[in-house]
């Protein structure tokens, strides 16, 4: 099992509902992860900059505003521009299945809807991070 998993939990967009993000952040912390919580109103640029500086394994976004088809692709694009391919981009919110499928095609991970057990999220992150971590040659 991968150790010291680092996760960025961010809330992009303008809606102020960060309860879900906070619940997930606390659950991941209690599962032994290091969670960087950046709070509300994050732009894709801010999210990617934070992800780079914090060298996280996972970027988890909470999007309830309906802007997921803009924000996820933009964050993905910015990560690729920085040459970052190993990070898992995942998240949650009200996201229709067809949208999630479309996002999966550009490399976005599983997206979790209302009623998801935090245990499922934790298991998913463990599995993905274990698979994605890369060994650097120094």
């Amino acid at each position: 099992m991968a150790e010291n998993i680092r996760v960025l939990v961010a809330k992009p967009g303008l809606d102020g509902h960060d309860r879900g993000a906070k619940v997930v952040a606390a659950a991941l912390r209690d599962a032994g992860m290091e969670v960087i919580y950046t709070g509300l109103r994050q732009t894709p640029e801010m999210i990617v900059e934070a992800a780079v500086q914090e060298d996280v394994d996972v970027v988890a976004l909470s999007i309830l505003s309906g802007a997921h088809m803009t924000i996820f692709p933009r964050v993905m694009e910015l990560l690729r521009e920085r040459g970052i391919h190993h990070m898992l981009l995942t998240g949650g919110g009200i996201i229709p299945k067809s949208d999630a499928e479309e996002l999966a095609e550009i490399g976005v991970g599983k997206l979790f809807g209302p009623g998801t057990s935090t245990r499922d999220i934790i298991a998913y992150i463990h599995e993905e991070v274990g698979r994605r971590r890369v060994a650097d040659e120094i």
């Binding site: 010291n4 912390r29 032994g32 290091e34 919580y37 950046t38 709070g39 934070a50 650097d136």
Partner: protein, 312 residues
Amino acid sequence: MKLLDRFLAGDRTALSRVITLLENDRDRRSAILDVLYPRTGKARRIGITGPPGSGKSTLTDRLTARLLQRGRTVGIIAVDPTSPFTGGALLGDRLRMQGSWDDPRVFMRSQADRSHTGGLSEATPYAMTALDAFGKDVIIVETVGVGQSTLDVSDVSDTTVVLLTPESGDSIQAMKAGLMEIADVLVVNKSDREGADRFASELKMIVDMGRWEEGWKPPVLSASARDDTGIDGVYEHLDAHVDYLAGEGRLQARRLRQGRSAIEKALGELWRGRLTVLRDAEDAMDRLAERVACGELSPLAAAREMMEEMVD
């Protein structure tokens, strides 16, 4: 290109990776530091410490803005506590440090202390080494919210700022020993709150009674980081402290003292590392723990037995 080559070419992603390896990869930590360490020593290091909620992150954000205005590059390490029960941590310092997020001259990293005592993570000095070698002009280290005896920050800073709030009043007596003694600059934050003036004058009295190095008595400054008032005064006193250190080999003396303390810590780290690679260490520990628990052997004697085994 290999990681350290990218680092030396100024790649921020590589800087971030290097910090991660220094945190996680005990086997290669030393090899990385061998490359970085000769490139350090130029950065000015500011430590910011104080009780939880005293405004350390906000002050860091405000000082960063001023450093940028004066053309400096800034590296920030902000440490938050790890849960000793789950190993997890919630690192929230970024929340209050969003004033300069899009300035490429700033690099900010959150660190969990990973249950290291002393207010910093074991890897904090290493992350500072990375920022210094990367060429940052100023490095700001923000500790976990501290009490009386978490004083590691003074081992890694040229200037230590102790941040207090009017609510810290009752604990002043306790703070005489410890936190007060490592302060080069004292800041009473949230100075708009009731009792702030009285608290600041009490603090001044304590400073007046204390014994300080010749030529530098820690100033007691009032500020409100949230409202961005009083911060220019803090900044000026930080500069004044740099000038003070520049005189009579004081900075050199401070760094020598810190070098000794860093070696001592590294020794402890090597011993602990030795313990984890020792094949039978766990078994030996279990056996000895039984004897300690039933009163047959003192912990010190048990440790000595372990140590003899480790040397072999």
